[in-house]
């Protein structure tokens, strides 16, 4: 069972207090989008082995959504950051570079 830190309220707690919601930074496609874009938006997910950015919610706490960068193999948590963003913060990416050199090529 993971330990998760909420970047909104600052609480560090057991995974059972949170809920995972899959891949982060998915672009919403809607009216005017091609069928292919709709398919990508609705169904295509990366299923990464290694560094993964995912959506979480502090379900039984402050209720806020946030993102987490995590290694799906070792379950190492690189960091959490607020959901109100289109891409992971650069300083977090640099941290991951240090720990997993070359990871950007594999994703």
């Amino acid at each position: 069972m993971l330990i998760v830190s909420c970047p909104c309220c600052g609480v560090t707690a057991e995974e059972t207090e949170f809920h995972a919601h899959g891949e982060a930074h998915i672009v919403r496609h809607t009216v005017g989008s091609t069928d292919q874009d709709m398919e990508t938006y609705l169904f295509m997910r990366k299923n990464t082995k290694g560094v993964h950015f995912e959506r979480w919610r502090h379900q039984y706490g402050c209720g806020k959504w946030f993102h987490m960068a995590r290694d799906t193999m070792t379950l190492e948590v690189f960091g959490t950051y607020p959901a109100q963003t289109l891409a992971p913060p650069e300083d977090l990416l640099v941290q991951i570079d240090a720990k997993r050199p070359g990871w950007r090529k594999s994703t």
């Binding site: 069972m1 330990i3 989008s33 069928d35 959504w65 290694d71 070792t74 379950l75 959901a83 109100q84």
Partner: protein, 1005 residues
Amino acid sequence: MSTRLATGGRLLNKSKTVSFRFNGKSMTGFEGDTLASALLANDQMLVGRSFKYHRPRGVVAAGPEEPNGLVNLGRDGRVEPNARVTTTELFEDLQAESQNHWPSLDFDVGAINQHLARFLPAGFYYKMFIHPRPLWKHVYEPIIRHSAGLGKAPKQRDEDTYEHFYAFCDVLVVGGGVAGLEAARTAALTGARVIVMEQYAHWGGRTPVDGGEINGAPAQDWIDATLAELGGMDNVTLRNRTMGAGVYDHGYVLGYERLTDHAPEKAGPRHRLWRVRARHVITATGALERPLSFAGNDIPGVMLAASIRDYVVNWGVSTGDRTVVVTNNDDAYLTAIALKHAGLDVPAILDARVLPEDSDLMAQAKALGIRVLMGHAVSSVKGAKRVTGVSICSQAGEGSVLEEISCDAVAMSGGWSPVVHLWSHCGGKLRWDTANACFSPHPDHPPTGADGAQFVTTAGTATGMFQLDDVLNDAFAAADGVTRALGMKLPRDATPPKGERREDAPLAPVWLMPQGASVKLREKAWLDYQNDVKVSDVRLAAQEGFVSVEHAKRYTTLGMATDQGKLSNINGLAVLAGALGEDIPAVGTTTFRPPYHPISMGAIAGEARGDVFQPLRRSPMHDWHEGNGAQWEPVGHWRRPYAYKRADESTHDAVMREVTNTREKLGMLDASTLGKIVVKGPDAGRFLDMLYTNMMSTLKPGKCRYGLMCNDNGFLIDDGVVARIDDDTWLCHTTTGGADTIHAHMEEWLQTEWWDWQVYVANVTEQYAQIAVVGPNARAALERLGGMDVSKDALGFMEWADGTLGGFNVRIYRISFSGELSYEIAVDASHGQALWDALLAVGADLGAMPYGTEALHILRAEKGFIMIGDETDGTVIPQDLGLHWALSKKKEDYMGKRAQQRAHMADPDRWKLVGLETVDGTVLPDGAYAVGEGTNDNGQRTMIGRVTSSYHSPTLDKGIAMGLVLHGPDRMGETLDFPGTDGKTYQAKIVDPVFYDKEGTKQNV
């Protein structure tokens, strides 16, 4: 004979006799006995039958690795199947029954299987019972189910209680042997918060049995002193009878504490599940001895050498008068020496090794006059339900008998395997230790935690150390390293205690005895005692292509018994490696999964049983319903009255009465459970326009509108009436089950997609009681309460108003889910019951009567209103239900709009909503499928529709239903066939889904 010795038994209190029963027979033991030692003291070597061949099985081990001694423990409401005799402490009046035999342990009919063993090899069941197919379900499976199985599931509710316990620490030490105690002592000296878990009642592990001095004195002195030291430290928690069951991600560990198993008369919970978060875990879990694979190694009386030693030293029990020791290492010599010291005979030590010179222990054994035969092995063991002798041979040969030695016990030792389970649970890797022929933790590949750093460290024998001085030094170093990494520091003068070192001769790996054993001998050489897997089975699996260790395991069932292969796995995979011509590390191990040793279901459930299993949500009028015949229906975590049954009627009659009364007079529904979500802010209208398929921003304050909500996949997820409260406030009603999910859905989109929109949402479902007052007399009832103008002109259909009704501050919505004149009255939850009572009082002579959810369903179905969860199932879009009118054409975008344009969604062949009316007036089975011409690719009848809701309508006095049908709306008047599960075929005509009051004249009065 196994018997109690006059002397010895360091764990016993011989002044206290304990009586118990085994298979109905009275026996006695002493306080401090395990059930196993007490049975052996009573010469009860035979304790069970094996799973497949029903071979007689005796006790093999003295700890949790025991594969054979499984019993049904207790009676009535306190029954435990598959209890291990070796881990069951004896108590007064204990009742045990052996398992897997019929009619009796001594005479078992199933034992015929052992004579058929030649025809029951690995994979027999898979090969034999696969054809013909139908026989599996009706013949093979019932027979196999009857004959297989170990313990019997309890029939009564468990009378005991269980609890969960949460704990946090810096260092959790699993194992209370000398390594665990030393690691705990060292860690505690740094000030770290330490928890130590020991699975047995006693501390110190094997060392007091195996001997060796610490700091120049007997090991027990150091153990006692260290325990006293730890006991006096505030930062240390010591728990005996507590097994470290599993290590999980990020330092989460489960401990299984057995509080009253040894003393059932004690008050309090039986088991406690420790849920620990440790910053670091030290596993000092020791090692398990391996059996040797030779013919007849499963005959009762053949036991692990160290376990025989345990029985002599710990419990003063001799397992036999004449014990032959067979080994590939020095450790087993300790058993021969211990037996000699206890005055028992050791006719020979058969040592598979050929060594240039004697080690210390070999010299000691010889000095005691024991005959030591080097390079020798067991050819086969003689005996059936008990060992009578062994025939011996050369280890290097094929088993030609050199000599027979009569004996009544055999002590075997194939070397030791560190207990790596807890290390491996969370990803720790193993490496092959050639010198000791075992897998040990790979220090470069430890389990890692949240920060990517190592969080499990092994100590002592669990690391792969087999000498007392190495064990203590390793434990000290482990604790020092761990606490250093946690930022704590040992006092400068801290040093490890000095353990004695014994110079042992090296072990020689032996995976089969003799090494060239013939097929006949291999067929009698057991690997897995509980599941009857032999050397020949693993070889057959390899021969048949099951070359992966995981496949071979499942094919042969090796290691799949309740002991999870603690004894059999290493030997089995060594045999597999041999058959494949590969190295053991290349074959690898199967996966270690928690728990280490079975834990009770009660401990896992903890307090979560019965009434507290799940919290129940109660409406403000719950108790009134309870007292007035409510038949409860679970809806989410709520309980809603399905119907209010009177003493003289059936539930069905009650539903019919409630529908008719509501149509003709006055019904009252507790609608409090329906979701109420306030959406407020400058962008609230824009937000709701995205969430609902229809337009909500144009709704005028004071008005209500029915809305549909889809997800972005286009599927319908919820519906309900939305009321506009003021310029920037809306109140959204949701379904009862949907309140929490829709609230979460709103939060999700506001926080993760449209985070710059200024909107707040609040789930106020439980803040209000809501009562639907329904029927032709509804207005009259409200007028009697008085205070608000509820006339058609003042409060029209789909309008709402705030006011005071009969003294209550209320909000009245004029909305209808029944087609009748209907007011839904919301009031503060705390006034719900009073308003309910007031309405019943003023409505008494107007026919006021509560109705439940089933009447609600019938009322809406008569009107053709859809129900989320009946007409929808997560694959239905509004277009399927003929709800085009609720899909805004003006809005550029709303959730689901684009998805509904995808090819499959726009397919004209999607099943569409229609009404269904049975030809003979009966009720269609709910969920029945309509069948058409022909068959599909699987040879099943072609399906062209299904029933989504079906009821008897008392209003129309016939069966009415709704369903989704291929081209349904174009087929009005056609009759379809619906085969039921009862063998009958029902016929129904396609009709308009609105069965009653199509013009809506009744609600609009």
